[in-house]
């Protein structure tokens, strides 16, 4: 425990000097610039940064959906260049299959692996229960609320028992109250399974509420600005949001983030005025 902020013993996931550029010629955008950090077994790490800082690019690289990058994302000794069985992804967008019931959605990864029907249903049932949707197994996604659908997606990812749970702003489309309550659910599940988790987010309260450590990113190019350890007691619930310590962490990270966010805002405003001038 008493180690350097950015390093752990025997980490589950290592991000080592990762660089990703888009475009060519003089219009190159460096989305991710020499980022390095790691995630220990059972640890909950958040990556936070303003919109457009390259968080989603990082998510796609770690998930193996973007294979063309420099540096290395490693699980054990293996460099990730395609979706890896140890990584389970939860997407920001609505991603349940509208033509499948809740239980069939959750059983989907097991179906791909060729797990037999009865075992498939048992395991899916277990995780649906865990996210608190036991009475909705036969429902179609269109009959559920946005928060419930996102829980279906999480259960679907958990059912394949990934070593690392990788989530890209899974609560971005939800309202604040739902978000806090879902945060509780995530904390509870994470502790129950001792689930190694990496969360990509732009939401400060969410990151502090859930994380053991927070990686703060800079705006363009996306670099690691700082890594903050959150020493709030566990088990945690959303009650922690009211505590002084919580407020202290939020203020501290906002201090780092404000500068980046206002650079991002200035950037998008000048882009808009350029468009308006040309249009």
């Amino acid at each position: 425990m008493a180690l350097n902020e950015s390093q752990s013993v025997n980490p589950a996931l290592v991000v080592d000097d990762v660089v990703k550029r888009f475009g060519r010629g003089d219009e190159v955008i460096t989305a991710v610039d020499h980022m390095s950090f790691d995630v220990a077994q059972g640890e909950f790490v958040s990556v936070i940064g303003p919109s457009g800082c390259g968080k989603s690019t990082l998510f796609n690289i770690i998930g193996g959906l973007l294979s063309d990058y420099e540096g290395a994302v490693k699980i054990g000794e293996e460099r990730i260049s395609a979706p890896h069985p140890a990584v389970g992804m939860v997407f920001q967008e609505e991603s349940t299959f509208p033509w499948r019931t809740v239980i069939d959605n959750v059983a989907f990864p097991l179906e791909l692996q060729g797990v037999g029907k009865s075992e498939r249903m048992d395991r899916a049932h277990h995780f649906i229960d865990m996210v608190g949707l036991a009475s909705f197994e036969k429902a179609f996604p269109s009959q559920l609320s946005g928060g419930m659908r996102q829980r279906v997606s999480i259960a679907r990812t958990l059912v394949s028992q990934p070593k690392i749970l990788l989530m890209d702003e899974p609560f971005a489309a939800l309202d604040e109250q739902t978000r806090l309550l879902l945060g509780d659910k995530i904390t509870q599940i994470q502790q129950e399974l001792n689930q190694t988790t990496l969360l990509i987010t732009h939401n400060l309260t969410e990151a502090v509420q859930l994380s053991d450590r927070i990686v703060v990113m800079t705006y363009r190019p996306g670099r690691v600005k700082r890594i903050v350890r959150i020493d709030l007691p566990r088990p945690r619930t959303s009650d922690v949001v009211g505590s002084d310590a919580f407020g202290h962490y939020v203020a501290e990270i906002w201090n780092d983030l404000r500068e980046e966010a206002s650079r991002g805002m200035a950037d998008s405003e000048s882009a808009a005025s350029r468009r308006a001038a040309h249009g």
Binding site: L65, P83, M89, F91, E93, E94, W99, P109, L112
Partner: protein, 259 residues
């Protein structure tokens, strides 16, 4: 007056009962007018036969084994035509939908050939496949192909990209992606394509039969026409329209529910 105006604004949709009454009235007026014209003798002889005679013909037709034998032939030709047209159409549609290069290279041809009169290809089909059922099947398959290929390609392009990313994140194979993501996500557009394709396949198969054939409902229509059996012709056309409408409604029903 003002109150009535407000009422109709507030209630919006007319009552179901009124709709049914109006439909009955319209049907009654049509049938009444038909019967009146038929009895007036305005048209030459048999051209507008009385409703009772059409009804008698209809009953006779439905009790006749010849009708069912011909229905069987036409059904067989249409089903095989649709199977071939749909198989090729879905395969080509997936290719055009999945690949931008193929889309730009070949989709304009499919798109612009789709609204051309297909029946004029019948002479060519006869040269290639003979005068038997195969030429009707070929014409029907060709007609069905276009609608199905186009709606499959469009359906493929409108699949939510995040669903494809989900499949990739679980490392689904190409086969699994096709079976468990692409096809279910395209169910509605494919079924709509099948509905349109089925419609044109039925029409072209039947038209082919009227032009050159010795069996099938189209052939039967020509026989009744040559015999100048007008009540029989009306009865046969009514049955064909109802059957085509029923098939259309059935596929439409599958395309609507769920999804």
């Amino acid at each position: 007056m003002a109150a009535a105006g407000k009422m109709s604004l507030a209630s919006g949709a007319p009552a179901q009962r009124d709709v049914i009454v109006l439909r009955l009235l319209v049907a009654l007026v049509i049938f009444g007018a038909w019967e009146a014209v038929s009895r007036s003798g305005l048209f030459y002889g048999e051209v507008i036969p009385s409703l009772t005679r059409i009804w008698t013909s209809l009953i006779k037709l439905l009790g006749d084994g010849v009708f069912y034998r011909n229905l069987q032939v036409t059904t067989f030709e249409t089903v095989v035509a649709l199977a071939i047209g749909a198989g090729c159409g879905i395969a080509v549609g997936i290719g055009l939908g999945a690949n931008r290069f193929l889309m730009r290279a070949f989709e304009p041809y499919v798109y612009y050939l789709s609204p051309t009169p297909r029946i004029i290809l019948f002479p060519v089909m006869i040269m290639w496949f003979g005068v038997g059922p195969s030429s009707k099947i070929a014409l029907g398959a060709l007609s069905a192909f276009f609608a199905i290929a186009l709606s499959t390609a469009a359906g493929m392009r409108q699949i939510d990209p995040v669903l494809i990313r989900v499949g990739r994140s679980f490392r689904a194979s190409l086969w699994q992606m096709t079976l468990k993501i692409y096809l279910p996500a395209m169910r509605v557009p494919i079924l709509n394509g099948l509905r349109l394709g089925m419609g044109t396949a039925i029409i072209t198969v039947l038209l082919g039969e009227t032009k050159l054939s010795n069996q099938g409902l189209g052939y039967m229509i020509m026989q009744v026409y040559t015999r100048f059996d007008m009540p029989g012709l009306y009865a046969l056309l009514i049955v064909v329209f109802l059957l085509a409408g029923a098939v259309n409604a059935l596929i439409g029903h599958f395309a609507r529910d769920g999804a």
